[in-house]
Amino acid sequence: MNAPSDEQLVAYLDNELDGEQRSQLESAIAEDPLLSLRVQWLRRSSLPFPAAYDELALQAPLDRLQARLDAAPSPARPGLSRRGLIAAGAAALVLSGVAADRVFLGWQLRQAHNWRARVGDYMALYVPQTLDHLPTDEASHRAQLRTIDARLGLNLSTATLKLPGAELKRAQMLEYDGVPIAQMTFLDSQHGPLALCVTRSNSGSLALAHERRHALNVVYWTEREHAWMLIGHNPPAALEELAQRLRERLSA
């Protein structure tokens, strides 16, 4: 073997040589004390790089970086037609939350009272994977709920929203035609995506009622200044039980 270059020695130290090159170099180093010294010298440059830079990463101004990310505009998706999206939803593709949001936002809210129809159209596009990759820690959820509280004059908490067998995944504000609607999405371990939605209403208090939208069951009610709906694939009786539980806690 010719005298190995520093590049080769560094590649050896970095474990970038294939098996044969490696064993050749190892025997050359074993036989040549000068080469061995050269490797030892180069090895002095193996510093605790990851530890040092992990420490540096702790100084990252995360709040500001996150705020600037949040302020970054959403990408346009000119390639996706609404019709295509609806077809995609029907075909139960792993549908993008943003695409669904856009479908949702794109629809005209013809009358305020058909908000449940719009939510139904929207929720029909959800599959369990829609809710993957969402931050599910308590702090994120609390922050999301604060946003809703501010927009709709509510006082929500993660405790109020606790449901048996279903995990809260995300709370967000949606809006169409200037009508803000909050959507709190859960993943029911048995029945898949489940959402509690709320908007402002002036219908006074109305008892629980049932309806069906697409293949989804809906239980809805109004309470003072808000109209609520719980929508999911849960059977009507089970859904009503959950709705009843939520209604009691929400009006407490």
Partner: protein, 178 residues
């Protein structure tokens, strides 16, 4: 079947990488403000190109390469503005060494030694030894041949080898550039 990666999911994953992007921006620019701007520009570009991102692949590497290309363009733009022709990126920004001082002694020594390397060696060392990328991956991000990665690492290691061993306690005579 086409898998559409949701924007919420995309943004959520993006936000996992902010600190790592920031420190890479800091490594390149050695300036906190520029590092922050680079991260933001990277986020904007990543969102624009979200459709090119393949769900399930390593987003961190994709983001590092976006940040790198933005940095290169920024450096080129600055060179054009300043009419300096082809010069190394070093020394063109106010070097903000404060960040190294805010880490522990050992970390500060490592960061200062890496910062003292020329730009090309610095970023190669960073990607290979901090991010732990293979030579192939480093070459892809930096858009250079593998041979270039190898020679930069060898040159950088020879310089780094000349420093005295790291000191757990600061010694003014240890010879680290401040």
């Amino acid at each position: 079947m086409t898998i559409i990666f949701s924007e919420q999911a995309f943004r959520a994953e993006l936000s996992q990488h902010l600190a790592r992007l920031w420190r890479y921006g800091l490594l390149l620019s050695r300036n906190r403000h520029v590092a922050e701007d680079l991260v933001q520009a990277t986020c904007v570009r990543a969102l624009e190109r979200a459709s090119q991102y393949v769900a399930g692949t390593r987003m961190d590497r994709w983001l590092l390469s976006i940040l790198h290309s933005i940095w290169l363009n920024e450096v080129r733009a600055r060179q054009v503005r300043q009419g300096q022709g082809v010069v190394d990126a070093d020394g063109q920004l106010a070097f903000d060494g404060e960040y190294a001082a805010q880490t522990h002694v050992m970390a500060a020594q490592v960061i200062r030694r890496v910062d003292a390397l020329p730009q090309a060696q610095r970023e190669t060392v960073y990607l290979a030894y901090v991010e732990g990328l293979s030579y192939r991956e480093v070459a892809d991000i930096l858009q250079v041949p593998i041979g270039t990665v190898m020679s930069r690492l060898a040159t950088a290691r020879l310089k780094l080898a000349e420093y005295p061993p790291l000191q757990a306690v600061p010694k003014p005579t240890a010879g680290d550039p401040q």
